[in-house]
């Protein structure tokens, strides 16, 4: 006999302030099959769960409905609780009376009525719930890390040190990412290369790490513990195994059209190039779009000068397919395209640059060997203006609404670089607010003001005029003194907003990870599961989850590694028993389900089935591979004959819920 227990949570005042919980309990007591109903202030607490356990024991409950928050929040909590007291966890239903009721309604009467309706639907469904048992699946003990910047490198090193093999896939010709482009790092001003390049070497030499550079993941199949990825190794046109990395080819290449990505466009590079001197691997790559050989068929200089005959114009892309238990996304960030910032003169003067370009101009390995010069004249600037929040905290629609978090600190750093090396150069920083929380951060920014004499002016730049003779004229407001300012700086540095990597959207599609409106990956829980994606087995490392500085990125990279290691250390995983199944008697073998299944979990198989009339017949029917099925339900909707059904969410159960809502 069915004995249903209904437990209504107040969630403090979150639910109870808007929903009359006592009336919900009273309504539950009137539903046939409900043997017990009660409310409690925090049902998820130990005392709340004890209340459930006691009621199960006392009233012999075998089905449970919890009216509380979203199942995304606590379904697992209550299922575990049910299992502990001997109720099958798949005979627990959650009526979401918080997010879908109390939080969105103001009127108490209306909210209470809706809570009762949701309760009735949940009771109708729980009555039809069948006990389900999870299966088991194996875990492939190898991790895939997408992105070879500091986040990806750190995560890979931690996983590899724990004894598991890791593959890093990086789309650029070298690992290192954005950190490799930086000159120094705040708040200690140690040289970026000095702390990053040893990590790059560690990753390259680690016996458990394989690095695929100039490569992209093209497809990902499978599920937690058993992912399978196709990695496209793009043709470098150079044989990596015999190239010595001498670089003669890069100096002799006659094509000088392409802007160097690594030097943020401040220098031209050859069509065959090594991104930077400390690149790993130190193997050049031919950018075929700019190569004379590939574009015109003439040339071939690199092949002639190569002492090892390593150039191979016929090299083809190669696809490597590999199995992984866990995937870590570390796709990093990019800077906002400033095309809509014509008011700041963007695109009209070489002397209006981004902060990343300034890093290259002050870096000893950069195009000017660390001499800060105005790109238009090659002369040292006497007055530099740094503009904060270019596209950050922007509500006009041309930028991003969020704070990019790192700019206030690197603006102070840049101001100090300049004042340290060129004491006769004046630096002014325009800002909305200075935001420098973090260990040693505020002290750092104050040093810029107090010791280095950097002028900080509260207010933003309204207009930059670029005169025909190349001089810059800047108009800004000083909000503290209420004055309009005019300046004629030689160099303007724009702290462009941080954005998600343009590839993030594509990668999210590959692994079915969620992304927010700005293209950053969404965490499974913003506070309690910050390094996990809502997709099981997919973890988040670094800037791809949101703006953060290097110390935070490294912390998160370590946290993501721990989560991945936790998964890889398991031999078996419990699988979700809510999978699809096929009623072979009514299946017509039309293969509609095979077409729609995103996981390749269904195939049509020729077999002997019993027809509705009880006769045996040989025909094609759909067969579900439970290990692959993720329970999305697409097949149940596509099936024209009603043969496909989902355990735990059967057509009958869904219709019972709808009926309960409608009657």
């Amino acid at each position: 006999m069915q004995k249903i227990g209904v437990f209504v949570c107040w969630c403090g005042s979150n639910i109870a302030a808007t929903v009359d919980v006592a009336r919900v309990v009273a309504a539950a007591q009137g539903i046939p099959g409900v043997a017990f109903a009660a409310d409690y202030r925090y049902m998820c607490s130990e005392q709340g769960q004890q209340l459930i356990a006691d009621a199960v024991r006392q009233y012999g409950l075998n089905r449970i409905v919890v009216c509380s928050c979203s199942p995304r929040m606590h379904e697992k909590t209550f299922r575990t609780c049910a299992e502990r007291c001997g109720v099958n966890p798949y005979q627990v239903e959650i009526a979401n009376i918080r997010e879908q009721c109390a939080w969105i309604l103001k009127d108490r009467e209306q909210a209470t009525q809706k809570a009762v309706a949701l309760l009735k639907a949940a009771v109708a469904k729980v009555q039809l719930d069948t006990p389900l048992q999870p299966g088991e699946s194996a875990v492939v003990k190898r991790a895939l890390v997408l992105g070879g910047g500091i986040a990806g490198i750190e995560t890979a090193l931690d996983i590899a040190d724990a004894g598991y093999p890791v593959d890093i896939v990086e789309k650029e010709p070298s690992i290192g990412g954005k950190m490799a482009q930086l000159d120094k790092t705040f708040p200690t001003l140690d040289c970026s290369a000095c702390i990053l390049t040893p990590k790059m070497v560690d990753a390259a030499q680690h016996p458990n790490i394989r690095i695929f550079t100039y490569s992209e993941v093209e497809a990902v199949r499978g599920f937690v513990g058993q992912f399978e990825a196709d990695i496209r190794k793009k043709a470098r046109s150079v044989k990596a195994d015999i190239c010595s990395g001498c670089g003669i080819c890069t100096t002799k290449c006659p094509s000088r059209q392409a802007g160097s990505e690594f030097d943020a466009g401040l220098r031209k590079r050859g069509a065959i190039y090594i991104p930077f001197a400390q690149a790993i691997p130190k193997v050049p790559v031919i950018d075929r779009a700019h190569c004379l050989r590939f574009q015109t068929g003439k040339c071939g200089v690199c092949s002639l000068v190569c002492p090892n005959k390593a150039i191979d114009y016929t090299q083809q892309d190669e696809i490597v397919t590999e199995q992984y238990g866990a995937i870590v996304l570390a796709t990093g960030f990019d800077l906002l395209d400033l095309q809509h910032f014509g008011d700041l003169g963007w695109g009209r003067s070489k002397d209006i640059i981004t902060s990343l370009q300034l890093e290259r101009l002050t870096n000893a390995g950069g195009p000017t060997e660390g001499h800060l010069v105005c790109p238009s004249t090659g002369r040292q600037p006497k007055q530099v203006v740094i503009v904060s929040c270019v596209g950050s905290r922007d509500t006009s629609g041309r930028g991003k609404t969020y704070c990019s978090k790192i700019c206030c600190m690197y603006n102070a750093k840049h101001a100090m670089y300049i004042r340290e090396k060129y004491p006769d150069t004046d630096v002014t920083v325009f800002y909305i607010d200075v935001r420098t929380p973090g260990k040693g951060f505020d002290e750092f920014q104050r040093r810029a003001v107090e010791e280095y004499g950097v002028h900080y002016i509260r207010g933003l730049v309204g207009k930059v005029d670029v005169h025909r003779d190349g001089t810059l004229h800047l108009t800004a407001s000083d909000l503290n003194s209420g004055r309009q300012l005019e300046m004629e700086p030689d160099l303007i540095v724009l702290a462009a907003a941080v954005t998600a990597s343009p590839d993030a959207r594509k990668v999210a599609g590959l692994v079915t990870a969620s992304i927010d409106n700005d293209g950053f990956y969404v965490e499974a829980h913003p506070k309690l599961r910050p390094v996990e994606s809502p997709t099981a087995g997919v973890f988040l490392s670094g800037m791809c989850q949101g703006p953060k500085d290097i110390p935070e990125t490294v912390s998160q990279a370590g946290a993501a590694a721990v989560k991945a290691i936790g998964l890889l250390s398991k031999d078996k995983l419990l699988t979700n028993p809510c999978t699809a199944w096929c009623n072979e008697t009514v299946c017509s073998g039309c293969r509609s389900c095979v077409q729609v299944c995103p996981y390749g979990a269904i195939e049509a198989v020729e077999k002997t089935v019993v027809t509705l009339e009880g006769k045996k017949e040989q025909r094609s029917v759909a067969v579900v591979n439970e290990a692959l099925c993720q329970g999305c339900g697409a097949c149940t909707v596509a099936c024209p004959s009603g043969a496909m059904d989902l355990k735990g969410f059967s057509n009958q159960e869904i219709m019972a819920e709808v009926d309960a809502l409608c009657w």
Binding site: H340, G342, S396, R398, R468
Partner: protein, 267 residues
């Protein structure tokens, strides 16, 4: 498609050239303008008070009339276009002003911002197309270095006006290119001319116009073009004697390029 036309007060008085040439060009380009039978002043300035009903009524009446006759309304004067478009946006989205106005007007069918408000330039760009326009030019303006002056009403606030990028606009330069002229891009082309300060603080207005004209000259412009009668007034009447440059409405140039100009039109 019916192109309902809202001329506005200035185009019936001081800026008759803008009105006359626009109608003639539209006819030639295949989108004859149909003047709204009973229009009244748009209010001239978009009311900053969010609960101002009366100041919005003129615009709403025009928008409603356009809705009931095909749903498109074309304006020429930057200020009229600005007011019509922003009031239309209020009527589409902003409570409670839209309900207050509907209650007051007691229309048979309440107005909820259904009309599409277009600037004449938008029709040229999106309906005629620059390539087709260029192909219809019979008297190209070759060799003329013209600076487009946008002012502010046409472009800002960018989210509502949505005509072009408010900081790096291109529509007038594209227009000039289609007519065979050489557009001159200069820094102050989208800065305010002083607007109605011409009445209350003429000196400041002169200063603003001075900066615009200096920037245009620095950029190499020999003449200026505008879509706004008030901008045209300020650029001509509040310019210092040594800074004077010819200022024309964009439709005057268009008429000339299409071979429609008769002597009296272009000033």
């Amino acid at each position: 498609m019916i192109y309902n036309y809202y001329p506005g007060c200035t185009l019936s008085t001081n800026a008759r050239a803008l009105d006359r040439t626009a109608r003639r060009c539209a006819e030639r380009l295949g989108f004859p303008l149909v003047e709204l039978p009973e229009w009244q002043c748009c209010g001239a300035v978009y009311p900053q008070a969010p609960d101002a009903v009366g100041e919005r009524l003129g615009a709403v009446r025009a928008l409603t009339a356009a809705r009931d006759n095909g749903g498109t309304l074309v304006a020429l004067c930057s200020a009229c276009y600005h007011v019509l478009k922003r009031v239309n946006d209020d009527m589409a989205a902003v409570y409670p002003i839209r309900d207050k106005i509907n209650n007051y007007l007691a229309l048979e069918k309440p107005y909820h911002g259904e009309t599409k408000v277009l600037h004449f330039l938008e029709v040229l760009r999106d309906h005629v197309g620059w390539n087709r326009l260029a192909s219809l030019v019979t008297h190209p303006l070759a060799g003329r270095r013209i600076g487009a002056y946008y002012g502010c009403m046409l472009l800002r606030p960018g989210k509502v006006m949505a005509l072009d990028d408010p900081e790096s606009p291109a529509i007038l330069e594209d227009f000039l290119r289609a007519l065979g002229a050489t557009p001159v891009v200069y820094d102050m082309r989208n800065e305010c001319c002083g607007s109605y300060l011409a009445v209350t603080n003429r000196d400041y207005c002169r200063e603003m116009v001075g900066r615009i004209l200096a920037s245009a000259r620095d950029g190499g412009a020999e003449e200026l073009l505008t879509a706004c009668p008030l901008c045209a007034y300020n650029l001509v009447h509040n310019a210092a004697a040594e800074q004077q440059v010819p200022v024309t409405y964009f439709t005057e140039l268009l008429a000339r390029a299409l071979g429609l100009a008769t002597g009296g039109d272009v000033q």
